[in-house]
């Protein structure tokens, strides 16, 4: 996302007069939406502290941020692929699964967990590139329609899931790390691994966002996302850019899967698909195609779900999370960081 672009666009619109909004409206538009989001969330948090008490409200906030970490990290790769390729990658959840199972397979050979995780990220990135070569590239060349891409992605999701199941079996597998240890922060507590996931998730998203904004590669990706034909004319090797997009998306998917699995402790071949809907929700809510949007979307959904448990039975958690999604999309049809055109 480019808050400066957003500002300059509103300013220039205001200056041009034509369809310029009234003065106050223009002033309102001048602040980036993330400020409103942060202010809004802070206000709700203060209210919750007053109504539900600081211990409960603080604890549910921490729990919400843990969920936000899971959702945001998983959603970054999803949103990146959509941004560059306009592909609603239904197979993304199963890439999470694939990466995690590869990690477990490598650890079973005696390799320690974290080096195995790095290897698994590389393997998953390579798989993503291979799938692009075999499947997506020919489809792009044939100018396949969006719906067909979407259905092919669902098919690919099935193939991946059942392949994992074929080789690894369907039983629940323990990751083998201690999920019960926790750190105390004042009156609140947080699982140690959950804390690690949150930090790594945040760092990864910020790095991805910064990479897209400041590196040459990131600029090329954004150029391809904006207009692939124009990018090609401008001398960008679009095939290479797409390949790198898949490498990043595949690696991030594996990382998200591995971190999620370590924090929850056990997995089965369906786990990636189970959280896919939440990942989509985070991506769409943040403004699909935007790396920071995934973070913002993840935070909103994570917090909304956990905060809701202060007042409602937790059985309504998913319903409330998705009701917030619908509400936000009514108010901000393109998501929190949404643009007229999806950008990364």
């Amino acid at each position: 996302m480019q808050p400066n672009d957003e500002m300059s666009r509103s300013e220039s619109e205001a200056r041009r007069g034509g369809d310029a909004p009234p003065f106050l409206w223009a002033g309102w538009r001048r602040l980036p939406p993330v400020v409103y989001l942060a202010l809004g969330l802070l206000l709700i948090l203060l209210l919750l502290f007053a109504v539900a008490g600081p211990v409960e409200a603080g604890q549910s906030t921490l729990n919400g941020l843990v969920g936000a970490g899971y959702f945001a990290l998983g959603a970054v790769g999803l949103t990146l692929v959509y941004g560059v390729l306009r592909l609603v990658n239904f197979a993304h959840g199963d890439m999470l699964t694939f990466g995690t199972y590869v990690t477990l397979a490598i650890t079973s050979l005696g390799v320690p967990f974290w080096p195995a995780a790095v290897l698994a990220m590389i393997v998953t990135a390579l798989l993503a590139v291979l799938i692009d070569r075999v499947m997506w590239e020919p489809m792009r060349r044939a100018r396949t329609s969006t719906l067909q891409f979407f259905l092919a992605a669902i098919g690919l999701a099935m193939v991946l899931r059942y392949s994992v199941q074929f080789f690894a079996g369907s039983q629940v597998r323990a990751v083998g790390l201690d999920t019960t240890s926790s750190v105390d922060i004042g009156p609140w507590h947080l699982g140690s691994l959950q804390f690690v996931v949150m930090l790594v998730g945040l760092a990864t998203i910020l790095l991805t966002g910064a990479g897209l904004r400041y590196t040459r590669l990131g600029k090329e990706m954004r150029a391809v996302a904006d207009n692939i034909a124009l990018a090609e004319v401008a001398g960008i090797d679009t095939r290479r850019t797409i390949r790198i997009t898949w490498i990043v998306a595949g690696g991030l998917a594996a990382l998200a899967g591995i971190l999620y699995a370590t924090a929850i402790g056990s997995i089965n071949p369906n786990f990636g698909f189970t959280i896919l809907l939440s990942l989509f929700a985070a991506a769409v809510l943040g403004g699909i195609g935007n790396a920071y949007g995934a973070l913002a979307g993840g935070i909103v959904i994570g917090l909304a779900q956990e905060w809701s448990t202060l007042f409602f039975n937790p059985r309504w958690k998913p319903a409330i999370g998705f009701a917030i999604l619908i509400l936000t999309l009514i108010l901000m049809p393109r998501g929190i960081f949404g643009r007229r055109k999806a950008r990364i």
Partner: protein
């Protein structure tokens, strides 16, 4: 003329070919369908259910041969995946392959989907190990039999288990949490009602959606106000996460926790943290272990190798045997004929037969005699709705990761 000759020759040949078969009764080829939880939330149960049914088929075949009764069974299986739609497809494929009875599945919504979508119409009996009372809200027209006691009874057993530990229910606060499914809902409601009737208090219930990424808020609500006990109705896959979340609260004491049959493992799986189960107690449908029938069953189980005993394995063994007996009595593998003879082989007041004299039982029913077959799990004598009269429950405790049965109780008392 040539055609007539050829026709006559063909008819003569056919008559000759059929003659020996007509002299000897056609053997009954029975196919038992196994609806197994191979994948999905109860995948822990799949292997033991599979083994139990296979053992029952092999043993019944052996005993029928001994009795000289021409009936041979085989088993075919399909994965119900913990999903009602998948369960219905699995059941369809088994019935298409000629299954006369369907043993399983373990999750009640699956049974309901199968009954409504297929088996009521085709008059095929299903024998679920799911214990929810929701099953009895559908009009199954006498096609669903359970050899496991329903949750209306397990709720009483659970109350007895908690009282056994706390001394009495009077004024004691129990925090209840359940997985949002008919099994959890029925059992938790039944427990809460019975507990309050005994003078106890209930906190919650906290209801959770199994697909959630985190269970920390739920766990926090369970341990709030330091209750005297927790009742947790869950499945293994989610308890791996919920259990860890409970431990992370820092306030959870597993020795105050009580669970039901879906969390009864002979050995606690490695993905469930030991701190979430050590000292925890629970209830499950009990199998009387001192009987000769149990000895035979246990011997078969050990000799076959493979998976250890798991909850309700004896019940599915019995279900298979009952289907076999009903087919022998009906002298047919026709599902509808079998359905109409189930009650004749578990008939109250008729001569009692056991696994120890199964060959005699097969001979008796083949001769048209009504019997009262007593299974490994106990007496069935099905009630009007198809649920059994057995009401024996184990109260167990996890000690060093192993299930230890503390006592057996009769939930109706």
């Amino acid at each position: 003329m040539r055609k007539t000759l050829a026709g006559a020759a063909f008819a003569a040949g056919l008559a000759m070919a059929l003659a020996p078969m007509a002299a000897k009764a056609d053997p009954i080829n029975l196919t038992i369908g196994k609806l197994l939880e191979v994948t999905g939330p109860l995948s822990e149960t799949g292997p033991s259910q599979d083994k139990a049914i296979k053992l029952a088929v092999a043993y019944a075949n052996e005993q029928a041969a001994k009795a000289g009764v021409p009936i041979v069974a085989k088993d075919i299986g399909a994965d119900v995946q913990g999903d009602p739609q998948a369960a219905l497809s699995a059941a369809r494929s088994l019935v298409d392959q000629g299954a006369s009875c369907l043993i399983g599945p373990s999750i009640t919504p699956e049974s309901i989907a199968i009954a409504n979508g297929l088996t009521i119409r085709k008059r095929v009996t299903i024998w679920p190990t799911g214990t929810s009372m929701r099953l009895r809200t559908i009009k199954d027209e006498g096609t669903i039999f359970r050899t496991v006691p329903p949750d209306s009874l397990q709720a009483y057993a659970l109350v007895a288990a908690v009282i056994d530990k706390l001394g009495s229910a009077d004024g004691k606060l129990v925090s209840v949490i359940y997985r949002n499914e008919p099994y959890g809902e029925g059992l938790a409601k039944g427990f809460s009602k019975a507990w309050e009737a005994k003078g106890g208090k209930i906190q919650g219930p906290v209801v959770f959606d199994p697909a959630q990424a985190t269970f920390d808020s739920e766990a926090g609500q369970v341990v709030a106000n330091n209750p005297d006990a927790y009742v947790i109705i869950d499945y293994p896959d989610t308890y791996a996460k919920l259990g860890a979340a409970l431990v992370r609260t820092g306030k959870f004491d597993a020795s105050k926790a009580f669970v039901a049959d879906a969390l009864a493992f002979s050995t606690v799986p490695s993905n469930i943290p030991p701190q979430a189960t050590e000292g925890m107690r629970g209830t499950r449908g009990g199998t009387p272990m001192g009987t000769d029938a149990y000895k035979i069953f246990d011997d078969l189980w050990r000799k076959a190798g493979g998976v250890e005993h798991f909850s309700l394995d004896a019940n599915s063994f019995d279900s298979t045997t009952l289907c076999f007996l009903a087919a022998a009595m009906a002298k047919s593998s026709d599902p509808a004929a079998i359905t109409s003879h189930i009650r004749d082989v578990t008939s109250p007041g008729a001569p009692k037969f056991y696994l120890t004299n199964l060959a005699d039982a097969i001979k008796a029913v083949y001769g048209g005699q009504k019997i009262d077959y007593i299974g490994v799990a106990g007496t069935f004598e099905f009630a009007e709705n198809g649920d059994p009269t057995v009401s024996l429950f184990d109260i167990f405790e996890y000690q060093k990761g192993k299930l230890v049965v503390l006592k057996q109780i009769d939930a109706t008392k």
